[in-house]
Symmetry: C2
Subunit: 338 residues, 2 copies
C-alpha cells in the first residue's frame, strides 16, 4: 500500500459534533525510516475524551488541529519493521488511530501478545486504556476497600462496566450503576452482576440512587458529572471518596453546569473528590493485564463491544458514542483484519 | 455562685441570624458530683460552624436545641474540683461555652498550662480549635510541601490567618489571601507577611486571584466556597490540592449556590478536593501546640483577637462574626477574668 485513508477534523463542533465536522481523506504513506514501523490498523477506538480535544482550548492534551488527521488508540499488524525488537506480523498497540495505515516510531508502539481467548480489540477496551482507567481509578484513586458500597455512572460504557465488575470481584458490599436506557439497566444487573441499576431518564438521579443504595455509598466513580455527582455527594457516607473520571453530561454543553449544588456536604462528611487521568497510572499496567485478563479468561468479567465497520464509519461511531448508542466499548473495525 | 447566665437559641435563623433569635437566661447551677468540676468561664468563643448547628438539619454535629443553652469552646478556671488530677485554680479548655459557669465531667475538660507570654484566650484561637484546623488542614489534608504556592480565602479570620502564616513559616513559595475589606487586605500583607492579598469586594475573584498568583497555585485552603472555590480551581496547577474547611459564603444563603461551575477541570489537572473536620486530627495537637506555640513566643506568628465583653454581648459577637466584623479570632471575655 502507498496511501492511508484518514479522518480529519475540519470544523470545531459547537455542542454535539456533526458529520460535517469531519472528512475522510487519502494521504500518501512515507517510507518507514530506521527505528520505524509501517502498521496496518485493524481496530480503532473512539473515546469520550476526544470530544475535549476537538475544542480549541488549553487542556491536558493539546487540541486536534483542523485539517489534520486526528490521533487515538489503535491496534494494528506490523507490515514492515525497521526497528529492533519488533517483527513484521506482530501486533502493536499505538496512538495513530483514525486512519487505516500508519508509519510511526517503534518506541511509541507496545507489542501485544494476545492472551488465549481474548480478541485483539479487547486491548483497546477492557485490557486497554478504558480498562486501566477503571482499575486505577477504583483501586488507587478512590482507594476502594473490600466491603465498600460503590456507585458508578455511565455504567454501561467501556470504563463503567469494568469499574462495576472489578468492584464486585474485589468484594464490594454493593455495586450500583446508572445508564441511559432500560436495556442497558437490565444488562447491568442481568449480565454484569450489578446489585442494582437505574436509568437516569426515569426520574431524579438523587431519588433513584437513594432507593438503589439505601445504606449509602463509600465510593463513587464519576463518568457523568452534574446531577449524578450531586446525587452521589448526598449519598456518600462520612469518609467517602469519589474518583472523577469524566463529566460526559457536560462535554457537549455550551453553558456552564449548575450542579453539584451541595459541595458544602464535603466538609461535614469529610469527602474526598479526586480528578484523575490514566496517564500516570501505567505503572499498574502489567498487574492490571494479569488480573483482569485472568478474570476474562475465567469467564468472570464480561465485556461488550459495539462494532462498526470501516474507516468511513468512524465519525458516526464517535457521534453515536456521545449519544450513548454503544453498550461497552465502541470499536471501529477496519477491512483486512486478522 | 449558685447560678449561671447563659445564652439560649429561641428561634432558628432564616438567613442571617438576628438578636431576637437568642435570649439571655439565668440558670441554677447543680452541685458538682464525683468526677465533676465547677468552672467559672473566662473566655468564650463564637465560630462560623455554629451557624450550621442553628439549623434543624442532620449534620456532622447535632443541631442546637431550641430553648436550651448552646455549647461551644470556653476557657475557664476551676472553682471546685471533685475529680482526680484536676485542682481548683487550674485552667481548663472545654465545650460548655455560651455561659458564665458550668458543671461538667472532668474527662470532657483539658487542663491548660499556659506558655509564658501566651494569653489564655489564645487557647480558643491560634492554639485551639481554629489553629489546629489551619495546621492539620494545610499540612495533612492539603499535603502542603515547601515550595508550594498557597491561596487561602477568609484569610483575616482565625483559621485563615494561621493558614497563611504557617505556610509562610513552612517555606511556601507564595502566600495569597482574600478578605472582605481594604483594611484586612493591608493587614494580611503588612502584618501577617502574605505575599499578596485582595478584597473580594473589589472585583471578580478569578481575575484578582490570577493577578495575585500569576504562576498558579499548588494548594487552596477554602473557608468561603462558591466563587472563591471556582477561582481557585481555575488557578490550581496540575496535581493541585484543596482543603475544604468552610463555605461561609453559603451559611446564611437560602438558595443553592451556582458555583463552582468548572469542576470538570479537576480531571485534566488531576485535582484533589478534600472536605475535612478538625475532630480526627487531634492526634496532632501536642505537635501543633509545640510548633505554633514556639512561633508565637518567638514573635514569628502573629494573631489577632476581636474581643467583646460580657455574656450579654455573645449573640452580637456571633452575628458580627458572620458579617466579617472581626479581624482574627472573635472572643467573648467574661467578667472576673484572670
Amino acid at each position: 500500500m502507498t496511501t492511508s485513508r484518514e479522518v480529519q477534523l475540519v470544523a470545531r463542533p459547537q455542542g454535539a459534533p456533526r458529520p460535517t465536522d469531519f472528512r475522510l481523506t487519502e494521504q500518501p504513506l512515507p517510507e518507514p525510516q530506521d527505528g520505524q514501523l509501517l502498521v496496518e490498523n485493524l481496530y480503532l477506538t473512539v473515546d469520550p475524551y476526544m470530544r475535549g480535544r476537538m475544542n480549541d482550548v488549553k487542556s491536558y492534551t493539546p487540541p486536534f488541529a483542523l485539517n489534520e488527521t486526528m490521533t487515538g488508540g489503535a491496534v494494528g499488524r506490523v507490515r514492515v519493521s525497521r526497528a529492533e525488537g519488533v517483527q513484521a506480523g506482530e501486533y502493536v498497540l499505538h496512538d495513530q488511530g483514525w486512519r487505516t495505515h500508519a508509519v510511526l516510531d517503534a518506541r511509541r508502539a507496545r507489542v501485544i501478545r494476545p492472551l488465549p481467548g481474548v480478541p485483539l480489540s479487547a486491548y483497546l477496551g477492557v485490557l486497554g486504556m478504558p480498562g486501566l482507567t477503571a482499575y486505577a481509578g477504583l483501586l488507587r484513586v478512590a482507594a476502594f476497600q473490600p466491603g465498600d458500597a460503590v456507585f458508578v455512572s455511565g455504567a454501561a460504557g467501556a470504563v463503567g462496566s469494568a469499574v462495576g465488575q472489578i468492584a464486585r470481584l474485589k468484594g464490594a458490599s454493593r455495586v450500583v450503576g446508572s445508564a441511559g436506557s432500560a436495556d442497558k439497566v437490565r444488562h447491568l444487573t442481568d449480565v454484569l452482576g450489578f446489585d442494582a441499576a437505574f436509568s437516569y431518564r426515569d426520574g431524579p438521579v438523587g431519588r433513584q440512587l437513594r432507593e438503589a443504595a439505601p445504606d449509602g455509598l463509600d465510593v463513587y466513580f464519576d463518568n457523568v458529572g452534574g446531577e449524578h455527582l450531586e446525587a452521589a455527594i448526598s449519598s456518600l457516607k462520612p469518609g467517602g471518596r469519589a474518583a472523577i473520571c469524566g463529566m460526559i453530561s457536560q462535554y457537549n454543553s455550551t453553558e456552564p453546569p449548575v450542579a453539584p449544588r451541595n459541595l458544602a456536604q464535603m466538609i461535614g462528611k469529610q469527602l474526598t473528590l479526586r480528578g484523575f487521568l490514566v496517564t500516570p497510572h501505567y505503572d499498574l499496567y502489567d498487574t492490571f493485564v494479569q488480573e483482569v485478563g485472568g478474570w476474562i479468561q475465567a469467564g468472570q468479567l464480561h465485556y461488550d463491544e459495539t462494532v462498526v465497520d470501516g474507516i468511513e464509519a468512524a465519525p458516526g461511531a464517535f457521534i453515536g458514542l456521545l449519544e450513548g448508542q454503544n453498550t461497552g466499548k465502541m470499536i471501529v473495525r477496519l477491512e483486512g483484519q486478522a
